[in-house]
Amino acid sequence: MAVPAGLLYSKEHEWVKLDGDVATVGITDYAQNSLGDIVYVELPRVGASLTQFGSVGVVESVKAVSDLFTPVGGEVLGINDALENDAAPVNRDPFGDGWMWKIKLADTSQTSALLSPEQYEALIAEAAH
């Protein structure tokens, strides 16, 4: 399961790519693989103010509905509209075309509550047992 370096991770299996105080968010390879074929994604609205670790949307596979949590809080700057019509990129390219939303961090110190790639790898290794 891919866990790219240079990203931060949440225990709820989202990834965060930081660029100054702007973060791009998606779900991890582990998450998409666990969910199976993803058929629908409901994303937060642009301009919405999100609280760190709050439930902000849903991701639906053929079999189940799961909540999406935001690993960092702040204002939503943009969303990956293309996923509304075709959620397949989340399975195919979770760290690339499958990205979900961009958010302006309310407080950059929030990132201290996130996991490093090494910590996240340990988390999913444990989940596999």
């Binding site: 199976g36 074929d37 058929v39 053929v62």
Partner: protein
């Protein structure tokens, strides 16, 4: 003790593990819900062929001259009129007209095979014994010891026929024969639960792993892939086939569940007949309707269904349906009026209502 300690394994458990199957509890067994992915497996079955382990389903064997009369009195469809080597869908009803289980009967020269849902296996075994107080029939429970492997899809004949010692290519749909498959003694049946042509192979559990491997190997070129219960659920929903616990239950009659075709009211007597007679006469019962959803938002079991401002029912099964124009489809238990084909309904999903239209079942029919 964790839940997994009480789960049973089929004879093919090691094969599922080796193929990377994702195992989940189902009907008391650890069963593969998927291997490569539900949609990929669905596609294999519709375009080529899929290989299923259905050994979790319970196989009961029934012996004696009295089986047909005895079983006819417990079920809605006709059993006495079945020809030798014929298979037939049937439903065991309760006194209120609800369903104990939906099943398949196979009439063999010296016995009958009855296949019941895994989730109802214990209940049905107890019920059949209770109903056999006078000893009309002899019942043998083969649940767990006999395996069931299904090969489903347009390439099924090309894959299975060369491995059999009898002519399976000319076997009619819903007929069966006893013979060998890849050397294993088997009941070979042209039945299935996917809406495609195919076979169900009933073999001894000890013979199942070798047969499974031979089928996978011989079928590789024809595009045979292992398929899990996730794909099976999408396939059966598209094909308009009910799943016990969703379209049928102890509370939902065969009529409500869309299985009126299987109810033979001309049979002299059977459990629940008077209740079904009353339902037919009043014709005001809620019933299963097929819905095609307008948007991309999936429906789920239990979601409320509205016609205008009025709640008219709820979703029973739902899925993305690749073979139905890649729309989302659902079955819903709704009022008689709302079940009319062409009715415009709405499904409430997380507080928002989304349009859906009532269509005739099945959603998908093979050409």
């Amino acid at each position: 003790m964790s839940a997994s300690d009480t789960l049973r394994r089929t004879a093919l458990y090691d094969e599922h593990r080796a193929l990377g199957g994702r195992l989940v509890p189902f009907g008391g067994f650890e069963m593969p819900v998927q291997y490569a992915g539900i949609l990929k497996e669905h596609d294999a079955v519709r375009q080529r062929a899929g290989l299923f382990d259905l050994s979790h389903m319970a196989q009961f064997e029934l012996f004696g001259d009295g089986v047909a009369d005895w079983a006819d009195a417990l079920t809605v469809n006709a059993i006495g009129t079945m020809k030798p080597l014929q298979a037939r869908y049937n439903i065991f009803t309760n006194e209120r007209g609800g369903c104990h289980d939906d099943v398949l009967f196979y009439r063999l020269p010296d016995r009958w095979l009855l296949v019941v849902n895994a989730s109802n296996a214990g209940k049905m075994w107890t019920y059949l014994q209770e109903r056999n107080g006078r000893g009309d029939v002899r019942l043998e429970n083969r649940h767990g010891s006999r395996a069931l492997i299904a090969v489903q899809g347009p390439a099924a004949v090309a894959i299975v026929a060369p491995l059999c010692d009898l002519d399976t290519a000319s076997m009619k749909y819903y007929f069966c024969a006893e013979g060998t498959v890849a050397g294993a003694r088997a009941l070979i049946a042209r039945t299935g639960y996917t809406g495609e042509d195919g076979f169900e192979l009933f073999v001894d559990g000890d013979d199942a792993p070798a047969l499974w491997k031979t089928l996978l190997e011989n079928g590789r070129e024809a595009g045979l892939e292992p398929a899990g219960l996730g794909a099976r659920d999408v396939l059966r929903l598209e094909a308009g086939m009910p799943l016990y616990g969703f379209e049928l239950s102890e509370e939902l009659s065969p009529l409500a569940g869309g299985q009126k075709w299987a109810v033979k009211m001309n049979k002299p007597e059977f459990v629940g007949k008077s209740a079904l007679d009353a339902q037919l006469a009043a014709d005001d019962y809620d019933r299963i309707a097929g819905l095609v959803l307008e948007g991309r938002v999936p429906a789920r079991t239990g979601y409320a269904v509205f016609e205008g401002d009025r709640r008219v029912g709820e979703i029973k099964s739902a899925s993305l349906a690749p073979s139905v124009g890649n729309h989302h489809v659902a079955t819903a238990l709704v009022t008689k009026a709302a079940a009319e084909i062409g009715t415009q309904l709405e499904i409430e999903i997380r507080g928002t209502r989304y349009g859906a239209q009532v269509v005739g079942l099945p959603f998908y029919k093979r050409t």
